[in-house]
């Protein structure tokens, strides 16, 4: 039980650090959290079977490998990435963090999140649907 708790705290720490790097717009360091074989995906919103879909077959919002994730970071640091220039204020909130399984060094974890993005005095709430 104690080990399980400690593991979850470790996962929480990792996620909180990830959120904090995003909130600070420290994207260069954020990128170092991702392994070379990373897949960073946002499945179609509003689809009840979203978690079972494959980006090769369905229209995702984001389906990055490590290379495109890096290109995304490069883009978001440019003034020509108009949508985020100047950078909006963001706050990522993680909750309901759970460890589902472990296999050697691999941990399968899940969390809920909500992101607040403030731009020109307007705050939008972004969340998975």
């Amino acid at each position: 039980m104690k080990e399980k708790l400690l593991l979850r705290l470790e996962v929480e720490d990792f996620l909180y650090r990830e959120a904090s790097l995003l909130d600070e717009w420290n994207l260069k360091e954020w990128l170092t959290l991702f392994a070379p074989e990373t897949r960073y995906e946002i499945a179609p919103t509003g689809d009840p079977e979203a978690s079972e879909l494959d980006a090769a077959e369905a229209l995702f919002l984001v389906a990055d490998d490590r290379e495109r994730l890096e290109q995304r970071v490069i883009r978001l640091q440019k003034a020509s990435a108009h949508a985020e220039y100047p950078h909006s204020r963001v706050r990522h909130i993680y909750s309901n963090i759970r460890v589902l399984s472990t296999d050697g060094d691999e941990i399968e974890a899940t969390a809920n999140f909500v992101t607040f993005r403030t731009k020109r005095s307007f705050t939008a709430t972004l969340r998975p649907r």
Binding site: T45, A58, L59, V62, R68, H82, A83
Partner: protein
């Protein structure tokens, strides 16, 4: 709609347009984007009287398939009934009004209201009221209580359009030259089209005409999308400059498009080295198939030309990295919701389908490398309109004294003929004396 006469005078002035041919000026009054009353007038005079795209035939392939989809401020059930007929019903029970369909899509032979149990066949016919007494034999005489169909529903090249005005001209007449452009989309495959699962949906804090203008604006590409071009140069090794050639076309009735020859790849059928050898073989095979079926000249165009088209007033159908259908739902004078679907050949190989999806999401949608910058620019426009006393917008680029925006061609893709064609039509309707209702 009345025949369109284009103002030929050297100056023309209406509530919304100011043309000064001698000075080469074409101006649009910003109240067309900012005034809530004009937006209401526009809904009444334009949006409710025009043909607007609802979806593609391939989205409801089987009998019973249905999709709930909004057009302007009406929620519709788009379905194929058990007889194989395509319908568009208002999503409301004829009894007490509850929405009949609560799921966004599915397959149903009948629609049953959850409130009192009124039940309709997929053809819209009311066949049961969940009541043993209280209604006479003649209650539904003449189909009085059947689900209400939109006044007009028709298709061109598989694209279904609706119109809320029963007196509107036939779809083909309305589409004018845009109809042939839709036909050429159907040429992508002899096997027909297939919708890719998933939809890009996002809200923009701007007037709906801003996204129409933006969708076929060649002038903004290199600056607004500079960071996307940088990305393409990195991904497509050896690409040092992107050579863009193209033209703008006015297609009649306010419809227009611009066509681009741009070496950024097309699953049908322009290969990029970054896609690899397997994709090269498949794209070459696809190109040969096009040549056999359509002839060399047509095949070459289909393989290499991107086309962005706005069907007046708010249907956007692009033939670019994919076949993209965008619906634009204005929710206020300064708000809109965009929904976009991607289509490809029904017989596309898994390799090319993967490439299609990759191309779409790297450019388009809320997570793309380009769309968010468009959204930003449109929101800045709306903001700019509302913060100043500046009255007029300019869309003069390439405007010359003899221009005929009804059916014209401009040798430069980055001129603004497209938008002038749109605004001519818009002004013609809005400035005409209103028929008594």
């Amino acid at each position: 709609m009345a025949a369109v006469i284009q103002p030929r005078d050297s100056t023309y002035r209406s509530r919304f347009l100011w043309l000064d041919r001698e000075r080469g000026r074409f101006l649009v009054h910003r109240s067309a984007y900012t005034d809530p009353e004009i937006f209401e007038e526009e809904k009444r005079r334009i949006l409710r009287k025009s043909w607007i795209v609802l979806g593609h035939d391939c989205e409801v392939p089987e009998k019973g398939d249905f999709i709930v989809r909004s057009v302007i401020d009406r929620e519709l059930i788009f379905n194929r009934d058990v007889n194989g007929r395509v319908n568009a019903f208002f999503n409301t029970c004829r009894h007490r009004g509850a929405s009949i369909c609560r799921e966004p899509r599915g397959n149903r032979k009948r629609f049953v209201c959850g409130y009192h149990g009124w039940a309709y066949r997929s053809s819209g016919e009311l066949f049961d009221q969940h009541a043993t007494f209280g209604y006479g034999e003649r209650f539904n005489e003449g189909g009085f209580y059947n689900l209400l169909q939109v006044p007009r529903l028709a298709q061109r090249a598989g694209f279904w359009f609706v119109c809320f005005d029963k007196d509107a001209p036939p779809l083909d007449e309305y589409l004018a030259g845009a109809g042939e452009m839709l036909d050429s989309i159907a040429d992508h495959s002899a096997a027909g089209m297939q919708v890719v699962r998933g939809c890009h949906e996002y809200e923009i804090k701007g007037n709906y005409k801003l996204i129409c203008e933006n969708s076929y604006d060649g002038y903004h590409l290199d600056l607004t999308h500079m960071s996307y071009v940088d990305y393409m140069k990195t991904m497509v090794k050896g690409l040092t400059a992107i050579d863009i050639r193209g033209r703008a076309l006015s297609l009649g009735n306010g419809h227009a498009c611009f066509e681009l020859r741009i070496p950024t790849g097309r699953p049908v059928a322009q290969w990029l080295p970054v896609w690899g050898e397997e994709a090269r073989l498949e794209i070459e095979a696809k190109k040969r198939e096009l040549e056999r079926r359509l002839g060399a000249e047509k095949a070459e165009r289909l393989a290499n030309v991107n086309r962005n088209m706005v069907i007046f007033p708010n249907s956007i159908i692009n033939d670019q990295q994919t076949i993209l259908m965008r619906t634009v739902t204005p929710t206020a004078h300064n708000r809109m919701i965009i929904r976009a679907w991607s289509f490809g050949p029904a017989d596309e190989t898994p390799v090319l389908r993967r490439i299609r999806n990759e191309c779409v999401l790297s450019f388009l949608g809320p997570g793309g490398f380009a769309t968010p910058d468009d959204v930003e620019m449109l929101e800045l426009c709306q903001r700019g309109f509302e913060t100043g006393d500046v009255e007029w917008n300019d869309i003069s680029k390439g405007f010359h004294a003899g221009e005929n925006t009804l059916r014209d061609e401009n040798p430069h893709y980055d001129n603004e003929l497209q938008m002038r064609a749109y605004w001519y039509r818009w002004d013609q309707i809005m400035s005409a004396p209103e028929q008594p209702r």
